[in-house]
């Protein structure tokens, strides 16, 4: 693992290792992939404004998310079917999160079950990402199992009435490799994704299974069947953030689904400030994923008001390269880069990262 010194190194190695269909599935964004590129480049348009001569002898990366302690404000975002990257799949990922004292969000569409994940890393803070199926009994069962298994929050994906158009998956006629299955389901729900009648097997799978008629009432229903706090994932507008809070959600995960749903939506870091502003009076926590690949990206998101960030693809790259060790390496890199940033920026603790530590590059066009 020594030779990997930045997330880009892990990405490059993973892209070399993975079979084409898996590689394409993980790296693709929706249609023309403009937003995919923007998720990263939007961070480059922000500037950190470091303070000097601040005592930084002791740095402190710890924070809390929904009351859960984390050793640093970088967690692992949900991504589907992680055993495609490595035989240990979700289990390697959650163990890495446990080892690093951070949060792992398990996908509904996982190749390891809720119970397997819980057992693999009993001490990790685990959240469960939920898709609501037309079959509400299926959905209820997922929620009940997650709660029973000790998951600490439900992360409801709200941007996915169906999956976006990912051209590579269509060309590859993507299916789940035959030795894997969707481990949270039984019967046809666990294997349907293994065949395709043309196009992306994943899109064929979810079409007709996910509930497209969902509204904000879904939150009410969820609250009636679980006592886990609910985080909504996929918010890109301030008014939706306010609706989420008024519906009873406990957290907002600003996300564009890794730029995989709709091309042309803003980068997540672009919309973060207006969402933070809109929810300020509610004291609700806001998180972000999308395009985070360096410690300075994390720092910028925190300065703009995120409580913590989550990374999806970086975990997959680490997983592909080295299983649990690879994911830990990825988290090591973020930890180190963030630690350096805290010190050189003169903000030794997370709570020192105030809004004025970061500005948009356009500030410097006003000479």
């Amino acid at each position: 693992m020594e030779k990997y010194i930045c997330v880009k190194d892990l990405e490059n190695a993973a892209l070399d290792l993975l079979p084409k269909a898996t590689r394409d599935y993980y790296k693709s964004g929706a249609t023309e992939e403009q937003t995919l590129a923007e998720n990263s480049t939007a961070f480059r348009r922000l500037r950190i404004r470091p303070k000097c001569l601040v005592n930084v002898e002791r740095t402190d990366l710890q924070t809390r998310a929904l009351g859960n302690y984390v050793s640093m404000p970088v967690g692992i975002s949900p991504s589907a079917m992680q055993r495609m990257a490595h035989p240990d799949g979700e289990l390697a990922n959650v163990k890495a999160a446990e080892a690093h004292g951070t949060i792992y969000i398990l996908s509904t569409i996982a190749t390891s079950s809720i119970e397997e994940v819980a057992q693999a890393a009993p001490k990790a803070t685990k959240w469960f990402q939920l898709y609501i199926y037309n079959d509400r009994e299926v959905t209820k069962s997922l929620v009940a199992r997650a709660e029973k298994a000790g998951f600490k929050a439900l992360v409801l994906t709200v941007d996915t009435p169906l999956f976006g158009i990912r051209r590579a998956d269509i060309r590859n006629q993507f299916t789940l490799p035959p030795h894997l299955k969707l481990a949270n389901f039984d019967g046809h729900l666990s294997t349907k994704i293994q065949s395709t009648k043309g196009g992306s097997g994943l899109n064929n799978y979810v079409s007709g299974l996910f509930d497209k008629s969902l509204t904000w009432d879904a939150i009410k229903w969820l609250k009636s069947i679980t006592s886990m706090p609910i985080i909504v994932k996929g918010i890109l507008r301030p008014d939706d953030a306010v609706k989420a809070i008024e519906a009873g959600c406990s957290g907002i995960l600003v996300s564009n689904h890794g730029a995989r749903q709709l091309d042309g939506v803003p980068a997540t870091i672009e919309v973060l400030p207006e969402i933070v502003e809109a929810v300020k009076k509610y004291n609700t926590e806001v998180y972000l994923d999308g395009g985070v690949t360096t410690g300075t990206d994390v720092y910028k998101a925190l300065a703009l008001g995120a409580r913590m960030v989550f990374v999806g693809r970086p975990a997959l790259w680490g997983l592909s390269v080295g299983g649990q060790a690879g994911v830990q390496k990825m988290l090591d890199i973020f930890r180190t880069e963030l630690e350096y940033t805290l010190q050189i920026a003169g903000t030794p603790s997370i709570s020192d990262i105030t809004r004025d530590m970061v500005c948009h590059e356009s500030v410097y066009c006003k000479l």
Copy 2:
């Protein structure tokens, strides 16, 4: 057709298939082709701001244009001499529009006659694009024939006192292939375009035939010879849009002629908002063509106030690749991409696409 999954695929295949002179004729813009590029890239500077948790079980792409029902807000813009792309030319195009329940605009300079087109697709909504010739009897005859053949509107091109400078056509000494003719005309008007005395045969053709002295009085004259509603095509300024309405036009087609007339004019999507604003109080419909190649482009134009959009080159690429089936494939792609966009953006019907669904990227520079 299965292998074509986006308009770009059709374009690439068509560019491979077509003979050089035709390919160049279709793809070129005026002089340095800056506006040609801008027509597309200007769409990339707009961001869609999706809503989540909206019931999108039923999507509805239907709308009306000048009272004509269309199954989706994407029609086919006029382009000249479509038999150069495929032996079925205009007939394949209009049949595809008929099959898809949308509008086909026939060019004056077509290689199939008004009557042939009407007969090929009697149920299609057909509009007739008009150039006004110096010989007003020729013009009157065109209008009368279109009306008699059941065309539902006149689309008067107002940006073409002469054809723009298209360098490739000059270098190629572009002429209509000898087995084709301008089918709406008799005698020398039908064949003159087949020879050139140097330079572009098309420019030589129209020079001296088109009426360069046209003013807004032309609308009055047209209204005196037809009861078809009149749409003006080629508007790029708000004041001209208002003049058109005051002259009695029923619709405004914001167009820069596929960037083929004057290089350096704005992208059509750039000027759309100010034109929509200027005509708001008149309740006149505004359409757009230019640079539309994806479902999100369509969506952005609708959000900025277009009633529907028209596509020119995409129809030519589809036609080149597969005749009617190719054009239908092109329309399929737009339909699918627009449907996905409606669902993921949380606006299941066309009428749900309000102005706030789209913003300019510069909004995010104001941190």
Copy 3:
């Protein structure tokens, strides 16, 4: 000449033909050549906003500059030592201007004399570009000869206390080829430029000869020795434009010396509007050179307030490629492109080109 259909064609052909030292001398800008690129790209940031349905049957490109009739608002800017490009040098250039009914500005540092130029094209409107030499008698003689030879204006270069750093000339140890001389001078002033003691022979030449102590009093002195109107060439600031007028100048040529003096100065089209604004109340004519290569560039400069534009390098490219015929071809291209622009923009005469015909692209960022 048929095969050249745009100025870029002439440029490419010329760059192929010319020997390296000459090619480099003509095409170079100061130091890093940022402004050289900006002179062109700044035009690309402007948009033409065409009007439609304007009677453009008769276009009229004629205008007047300092009372002199010109058949079109494109003249030839001064450039040094034109016989390096073609044996006919300045004589070919002035004859082309005469044939086209436009203005030719002869450089002080010419390889044809004032008298030769006057004799070659007696009917051309000729202006004389002046450098003021330390030796005021030399300067007086130049002015007197120009006036006597029928030149209609003095174009005083005000941005050249010394020549800028042009790296290629230094590397090439640029000198005037031995068969040529500076034809407006006798003795060592005519041949000194043919040798170099290292570095650019041209910079060595002017250093010590040009008067670096010039102030605005120079205008007063010039007015005392000539009755020709005085145009100042090289103005880039509004306050300097006002000073010029108050000193008695009759015209302002906005120029950055083809980006050859100081890198990092603005493109000329960028500063034109503020200069036009500053001198509005004086009714003084403003001209522009720098980066003009197409008819739409000319149009944009006129819309922003230039009375006419001048082109330097395009004349050199035409001259290199075909002597007088090549320069005429270059002027033909501008005439044709400008004529098309007038028609398609709906402004058939030069006086129709009002300020609102052009806007900056940033206008379209304010959605």
Copy 4:
């Protein structure tokens, strides 16, 4: 030296000559090197607005910094371990500064001692760059030696609680070549940098040695042990500049440590204006380093309020290429380019360079 006509020439030659580890050490910036690029490109976004017809017969590049006469406003910024570039290292550099009548800033981490440098160039104005070590006796000794050796100011680096992440150094496992040592230290402090236990030997070295607990109280302490004026190097925020002055500092060196500490911080020229504005009322001198490679860069920094600029890498490139002669060549180039700029911009003396001589390119977007 004749063949080097710009700093870029020296850089290219040096990069060819140097062994990989040294080359990488000198040229690298922090992590992704965005700020490294920005330091240069930010200068390109500024425009010089030259005045014409100003008497520039006599140019005067002289100025004073902290009361020290300099023959031009370009000095040499501190950089570590200069003998890696050339056997004469710091001694060649300081002699070149002496020959040019400008300031040399010696690094704490030098491969020549304070006393050697003082002896090599007794007449040069020398400033001493200081890192504060945990061992305050070590620090006191450095300060006392510098003062005794005739150094005129302390330049306290305030942006380096530890060294930034420079990926190339980590990959190269950078160490000081065995024949060199840190000449200002004895014992393990002088040689520890020659070994590495993985990663960058430099980072391992400073980690644990530099005092990370420093606050603004450090200025007070320094003032208690020296009568040299104190300049703080590494300021990027107006509020920190004010703090520095209130703590008793005599000068502000706006610097981002050659973009080597934290990627994503602003270019130094971007923050200069707001810092100059903030300290205006105190009459404190402000300097700048970072990205300065041409005479126009120097000019722009002066126009925006810098008293003088310092160059780091350009001195290393000159040193690598030709020892003292190479550094002098580098200074010659800056002198010549700045002299040309003063003349062509119409500001013959440093004090003529007023704020209005430079503007941001965005000024020209407001048509």
